[in-house]
Amino acid sequence: MDTLLTAESAVNSPRYRRKSSTFVDAIHDLPEKSELAPAQLYSTESGRLFHSGRIAIATVGLPARGKTHISVALARYLRWLGVKTRIFHLGDYRRAIVGPGTDVPDDYFFVNASASSVLLRQKILKKCREDIYHFLNHENGQIAIYDAVNPLSAGRRSLAKEFAKHDIKTLFIESSCDDQRIIEENVRSVKISSPDYVGWSEADAVKHYLNRIAAKIPHFETMEEQDLDWIKMINAGQRLVVNNTSFGYLSHRIVFYLLNLHIKSRHTYFTRAGTTLEEESFKADASLSPQGRDYAKKMTATLLKHREEERKAILEKGGTETPLKPLIVWTSTRRRTVETSTFLEAKGFKVRQRSQMSQLNPGVCEKKSERRIRQEYPEEVLKHDLDPYHHRFPRAESYHDVAVRLEPVILELEREQNDLLIIAHESVLRVLYGYLMACNAADIPFLSFPRDEIIEIIPASYNNEAKRIKIPDLPPEIIPASPEGIKAPAPPSGFATPIPGLGSGLASPLGPGRGPGTPEPSASGYKTPEDSENLSVRMHDVV
């Protein structure tokens, strides 16, 4: 399946590229040269921004400290800003070179490892670093994230030295934890879901896993090196220590982002506002219509039922007593979104209004039919068709404008510890979804959010996963996605939104007759059989 960057493909064909699609997390995809990122303000010839040079970010920390999570989250943010970033999980290389189902030798991480283990280690490191150099030197890459344990001070010093020879700065990011509960939660949520632990009680599995780490990696030195650039994240972001010898713009920006990041995983739901009395008017800020209220009610019921099912499923697997995080609701300040949240608020859920989440301002296009817009603004329409993401109609906002103004919301999104339901206009959902799933800017205006589905985004440390939850019994006329820009209203089914150009040249994982903009509506979302395999292999890799 071409939507998963497997270890084999990463190692055996390092310059392997796959096309991104809009319904799986594209964070491990390689962006095309010509692409602009969602919040990128300008591009440069070299593709490198802010005169910050090339940086290798090396993670430091024992397994289950959230290194991969930090790597992926950081890459997501940097890519969103337009910085060419790629993650190199050393584990992928280790796994591929050792071979599937095989573990590394017991002394692999030991300081006094046997000669054969040292050779193996060197072989794996060499392959990974060659790819890093290629990315930074020949693919206009700016930031390579080197996701590895890097447990020893001496090793880190020589790593920084080696990168420096290639004119690459090294920034270490250590994830350190002295709070046993955080470590255990991490192990529970990402490490023991593998088949290795089927039939184990959770507590035993956690204990076994941690013991294995302790045996495998007995030596670990926390970062204290005064002469290196590093950021230490302590207890999932409670405290950060920064050692700055030569920070550039991007390094400071990374600190800023990390200040908003935490390691706990939580779900994000997206849903649209109900239909209103004055559906077409942007300025009117109308209240919900009776149909819209009916939608709000059904959406609420579906969401709560779904969460209850999830809770039960976790309990059945022998999970903790409080498997679900509390749910918080964010709306824009527009009446329709606020009113859509009323049923949830009545049930005691906390609702917050955020003015940055107002829909894309349609400017002169408000209340106008596509035909009229084509008549009145033929030149604008031509420009719009060329670049629907960046073009703005007179007095209107572009998607890019919306993305830039949503940055504080995105950081708050990272900061939020509870499950989160976002009720907003489709234009806002598109942009936020584009961030969470690392979509190409060009695809964002065409993402489709039919009203009869709640989108659920489940973060995993390696990539995010999106599910769609069907809201039953809605009148068909309120379902369609709102049209992109000047496009005519979408066909009523909401499943056949035409998406020109997208997915061409892509071995679509979906059956024929299904537009790629519409994800599989199956209950399991996009979780493919490969996923679970992957997880089990990953288990070997870290330990």
Binding site: L41, Q238, S355, P408
Partner: protein, 473 residues
């Protein structure tokens, strides 16, 4: 935001900068300086006043802190006010706990900002700066003042407690030796994280920033805006004179300069001789390109007002927020300049050759010019500005090259091609003649309590939520 640290650690400097930065990004901010409150009763105290064993001094200082905190909490009653900065030493744990309790009681968020420094050179250079400009020592012998100030610091050192493990319930950022090491604890929201981001970019080493527009361009002569034209013959002469002009403005000893230009031809051409003759490194920034005037690019103001009369009017009504069709507004420019500002804060001596709107935005950041004024600021061609940050403000010097150029300044309502005030009566033949260099010094402006840079234009802003300011490019 509560400052913590011994005297001469740059607290007031940081407080002032944070206030200016926030206002530039449309966040209402104010500094409450406990020293100012204390000075009303004790205008020129000597070091004994600050001795912990002097109960009278202790009492007076506590009363000043009370008054400042009360005023600060009152200030928050206006819900549009967002960030108050309490500038004082707050050097003991008990004082910080008292502040913490007062702030929590008022249902506000807090962040303690400690500046800790044990680099003697840095402290001394700070003392020298403060002794000449602190209101405490007005009219006193500088040597005497410096000595007294050192004694004052020693008194504080006796009781100073740095923020440590026992205060881990506080939200704080501890900046050690101007950012060599930073400890950041319990950040609670986005705005706090942004403040920390800004703070970690600051330094207090002495330096200057030179700002100039490009030399007169062919488009300037024709009264056209935008484009990517070459320099005019007079613009070329300015470029040639620039190395001399920069030298005349006073260069720091042994400190390298870096030249920043936009990616447009006219700024690179203007920097050419500077780069060749003085051998400085040059960086091109796309973010320094001129405000994009969209469909109006390449037009004269007259053409714009003929072709888009409504737009022209709309721009005059609210120039800061007006966005050219297919182009940018000043607000947009400020957003894209954010990386430039951060880099400027991090860097030392920089000379920037850029464009009118960009100079206005950068200048406004340093000088705290409000949004309703900054887009109308006059920035003449062929004039070099030197900005030097000082503890209590930024000093501006202007160096005018005696090379005539058109004026591209357009007052509200006017559609004139250009207001040619500069070239009148000026000899056309003084290339390189330094005798005719005019130096106009404007000492430190932007004093505290200046005009607010808040977004008060009535424009429906997208930043008016509790999370304010730039969405960051």
């Amino acid at each position: 935001m509560v400052m913590v640290g011994l005297p001469a650690r740059g607290k007031s400097f940081i407080a002032g900068k944070v206030k200016r930065y926030l206002r530039w990004t449309s966040v209402k901010a104010e500094v409450f300086n406990v020293g100012t409150y204390r000075r009303t009763d004790n205008p020129h105290p000597d070091a004994k006043f600050f001795d912990v064993n002097n109960p009278e001094g202790e009492k007076a200082r506590k009363a000043a802190a009370e008054a400042a905190v009360n005023d600060m909490l009152d200030w928050f009653k206006d819900k549009t006010n967002k960030v108050a900065i309490l500038d004082a030493t707050n050097s003991t744990k008990s004082r910080r706990q008292w502040l913490h309790d007062r702030i929590i009681e008022a249902n506000l968020l807090h962040i303690f900002v400690e500046s800790k420094c044990d680099d003697e050179d840095l402290i001394m250079s700070n003392i020298l700066e403060v002794k000449t400009s602190s209101p405490d020592y007005i009219g006193q012998d500088p040597e005497e003042a410096a000595r007294d100030f050192r004694d004052r610091i020693r008194n504080y050192e006796k009781v100073y407690q740095t923020i440590d493990e026992s205060e881990k319930h506080l939200t704080y950022v501890k900046i050690i030796n101007i950012g060599e090491r930073v400890v950041i604890n319990l950040i609670q929201d986005y705005l706090q994280s942004r403040l920390v981001y800004y703070l970690t970019n600051l330094h207090i080493k002495p330096r200057s920033i030179w700002l100039s527009r490009h030399g007169e361009s062919e488009y300037n002569l024709e009264g056209k805006i935008g484009g990517d034209a070459n320099l005019s013959e007079r613009g070329e002469r300015y470029a040639k004179l620039l190395p001399e002009l920069v030298k005349r403005s006073g260069l720091p000893k042994d400190a390298p300069l870096t030249i920043w230009t936009s990616t447009l031809r006219r700024t690179s051409q203007t920097a050419r001789h500077l780069q060749q003759e003085l051998g400085w490194e040059k960086l091109q920034w796309k973010a320094l390109d001129e405000l994009d005037s969209g469909v109006c690019d390449g037009m004269t103001y007259k053409e714009i007002s003929d072709k888009f009369p409504e737009d022209f009017q709309a721009r005059d009504n609210d120039k800061y927020n007006y966005r050219y069709r297919g182009g940018e507004s000043y607000r947009d420019v400020v957003i894209r300049l954010e990386p430039i500002i951060m880099e400027l804060e991090r860097s030392e001596n920089i000379i920037i050759i850029t464009h009118q709107a960009i100079v206005r935005c950068i200048f406004s950041y340093f000088m705290e010019i409000p949004q309703e004024k900054s887009p109308w600021m006059e920035v003449p061609l062929h004039t070099l500005m030197k900005l030097t940050p000082k503890a209590y403000g930024t000093e501006v010097e202007r160096f005018k090259a005696d090379i005539p150029a058109v004026s591209t300044w357009r007052p509200k309502g006017s559609t004139a091609k250009h207001h040619d005030s500069v070239s009148e009566g000026m000899p056309d033949t003084v290339v390189g003649d330094m005798k005719n260099l005019k130096r106009t010094g404007t000492p430190a402006t932007n004093a505290d309590g200046g005009v607010s840079g808040g977004n008060e234009t009535g424009h429906e802003s997208v930043f008016d939520d509790e999370v304010l300011g730039l969405p960051l490019p």
